[in-house]
């Protein structure tokens, strides 16, 4: 089993952008993502509803540092100003079979 040092990006943002956001992440080099439905509160107020315009998603992307930078840059330029969004970046080990 190989261990790879990766970046784990966690993005909490509006459910409305899910499908577009995913397409953009993939075109920036993300090979996968995991999404859960979430609720929360931040600078843009409470987003507690399961009702679409007011619900959040929590997206996790495991990728290399380079892709992480590209995604962060993209989010900064296209989302931060207008969407409820928080972006976190952490170090994580990904375990892959030796063959990968």
């Amino acid at each position: 089993m190989k261990r790879h040092n990766r970046k784990l990006l966690t993005v909490v943002t509006e459910a409305a952008v899910e499908s577009i956001l995913i397409k953009e992440m993939e075109s920036l080099g993300a090979l996968g993502y995991t999404i859960t439905s979430a609720r929360g509160k931040g600078r843009r107020g409470a987003r507690h509803a399961e009702w679409m315009p007011n619900s959040n998603i929590r997206v996790e992307i495991v990728c290399d540092a380079f892709t992480a930078e590209a995604i962060i840059k993209h989010l900064h330029e296209h989302y931060y100003a207008h969407y409820a969004m928080i972006v976190l970046c952490a170090d994580v080990e990904e375990l892959r079979p030796d063959s990968d």
């Binding site: 409305a16 577009i20 315009p53």
Partner: protein
């Protein structure tokens, strides 16, 4: 007397204003919407099969023009009187040029309770009316240099849950006819008003949540949220009269014109005009116009259509 289903809406508003934890689970709310949209579509489809294409086609065109016109008419008012930014004005205008299925459903309940007939292929016009206002709204905000996102927005609206269920229901009703859908009547038609009651309960809770943000955005939004539907109802009534609709049908078109979107348009605007503040349009359309229409608007538009028919209507 107030429509009994509207009492559920008031119950929702009161519970929401008191900050009760009452809430329909998201999946149940979607279920309720799916049932309403399919029921409305199926009913419309059965009736559509009885109409001549030559009658319906002009109505379709007229209604698309009306949607675009209402958005265009709202925009300068929002910019001038309301001093909204270009993006915000465009977004609010799109909401008011489009329609609300929930308002239509309450109107259906109102008219069937009173035994007033109306052109039942109305759901086709309803589905059509969702589109033009969105296009106008995007163009108002962005000009004609529509970016990449706009294409996918158009796709998303056309293939959104709401439109697909309405049009799918219409098609099935049209193909299967009255006999064909008889076996599914208990779920879609007998339960219709009960399901509508649940929908209105949740709408009340959602509306109550808008009242807070309404306070922030001041008196203009409230005035606009009442004046605009009254103006739109006049336009819709005039159009209905001109198209030769019945009293019920004219009133329905007035109601559709007066209603403002709170599902399809917010989603489309969020993606295509991100700099528009979504709480602004929702506060107006959900916090003011939806309750206004549901509680006092529908009877007003009925009276409007009845009087218009008395004054200018044909036989």
């Amino acid at each position: 007397m107030i429509e009994p289903v509207v009492l559920f809406f008031l119950m929702g508003i009161v519970a929401g204003a008191l900050r009760s934890e009452l809430r329909l689970p998201g999946a149940v709310y979607e279920f309720v919407i799916i049932l309403l949209l399919l029921a409305i579509g199926l009913k419309g489809g059965v009736e559509l099969a009885r109409q001549e294409l030559t009658v319906v086609l002009p109505q379709m065109l007229a209604v698309v023009a009306m949607g675009a016109f209402l958005s265009l008419a709202a925009f300068p008012v929002l910019r001038g009187l309301g001093r909204l930014s270009r993006a915000d004005a465009a977004s609010v205008a799109a909401h008011y040029g489009s329609v609300s299925v929930g308002t239509y459903a309450v109107a259906v309940s109102y008219y069937t309770n009173r035994g007033i007939p109306f052109e039942e292929h109305m759901p086709l016009l309803l589905a059509l009316l969702e589109i033009p206002a969105i296009v106008v709204g995007i163009v108002l905000a962005r000009g004609f240099s529509l970016g990449i996102r706009v294409k996918s927005v158009a796709r998303e609206v056309l293939l959104s849950k709401g439109i697909v269920l309405l049009l799918g229901g219409l098609l099935i009703g049209w193909i299967a006819g009255e006999d064909g859908i008889r076996s599914i009547t208990p779920l879609f038609f007998d339960l219709f008003k009960g399901v509508l009651a649940l929908f209105l309960l949740e709408m009340g809770l959602i509306t109550a949540a808008q009242l807070g943000s309404l306070r922030k955005h001041g008196v203009f939004l409230i005035l606009f949220g009442i004046a605009m539907p009254l103006f739109s109802a006049l336009v819709g009534t005039a159009l209905g009269l001109w198209l030769g609709l019945s009293v019920g049908g004219t009133a329905m078109l007035g109601t559709l014109a007066a209603s403002a979107s709170y599902i399809a348009v917010p989603a489309a605007m969020r993606i295509s005009v991100p700099e528009a503040n979504p709480t602004l349009s929702l506060a107006a359309s959900l916090g003011v116009t939806f309750p206004f229409n549901v509680i006092v608007g529908i009877p007003i538009y009925h009276g409007l259509a009845a009087n218009a028919h008395l004054l200018w209507g044909g036989a």
